[in-house]
Point group: C2
Amino acid sequence: MTPGWPAHTIFIVKILVVLAHPNQGSFNHAIAERAVKTLNKNEHEVIFHDLYAEGFNPDLPYDEILENEKIPGEIKNYCSKLAEADGIIIVHPNWWGQPPAILKGYVDRIFRTNVAYKFEEGDSGEGIPIGLLKARAALVFNTSNTACNREMEAFGDPLETLWRNCIFDLCGVKTFYRSAFGVIVTSTAEQRRAWLDEVQDTVNRYFPSS
Amino acid sequence: MTPGWPAHTIFIVKILVVLAHPNQGSFNHAIAERAVKTLNKNEHEVIFHDLYAEGFNPDLPYDEILENEKIPGEIKNYCSKLAEADGIIIVHPNWWGQPPAILKGYVDRIFRTNVAYKFEEGDSGEGIPIGLLKARAALVFNTSNTACNREMEAFGDPLETLWRNCIFDLCGVKTFYRSAFGVIVTSTAEQRRAWLDEVQDTVNRYFPSS
């Protein structure tokens, strides 16, 4: 580690970026684009999924839950990319305190047993899972039309818990950072520029050039 | 209201039951079946969606977000059924502290502006929404392979917040009750029978015969 970098800085090479927004001209796309540009500038390898553009099918079928069944090739491919990632960046709007369905389905289908976590031998699935992801840091960027203080006071900011605790901590990714930008619908061009700069700073902080 | 019923008892006629589990032989299906049977016995009209069986498409396209765009007929139909419901029952497994993607997409697409909530005139979408649903009570039945105490301690039981606060309270449904059954994977036939009886008791309590 380069001297002078803060302790949470991690030098990594393969970063997975997953985006879920149905509008190709959305601010979410601008965030993902800035993140990818920053990673490229820092000479990381970027794996990028725009789930809507790729037509990802979010419905986990029963066959895929059964551990020994064969999963489709395209799903295996998504799984490999998740398993290989040294770092992960997720970008999505806050819809009902949760990700859009297409991204929820990405988690349902790709964060599989024996890819993202496993159970101890002899455990029938009711125990505490062991995280398997090799990614050392995960960043989540959200947009919202609910003011951040209302999101916290009225709803307890569930996206923080969902991504930090229920997903990444469980899968072994212990370094986690999340930013929520809003209110988007009434934001000025200047605010949006500042938010994109904040995305760039965050990506530089966690995934700097080596 | 019949004397002797507890204060939260509501006499209603049209109950919407929404089920999301990919296995037609799942315990979730048994829960939904028991709920429907109890509602029928109490002479309520039941609207039943088995989202997987119906092949519901959970991906909200951009066109549907724009308020004045036309939405597909089948989506309008789902919306009407939600709007007409005097009571709602949701049945799903806990996947990552959240509903399966197919059910998240049902919320994304069907709990629309001007169906489930609206904004004050002159509000561009950043304000506090006003609930529009006429349903007077919502019940949520979940299954889980995480012990209830671990779900609370490690994750803060996000499904409670998501359904109670982020969705139903926001849409104007103030009477809310949720039961989480688990650990399913190691449960005995006797436990499952007792859980189904608990479902029946809950449905009878909130949606009794008039």
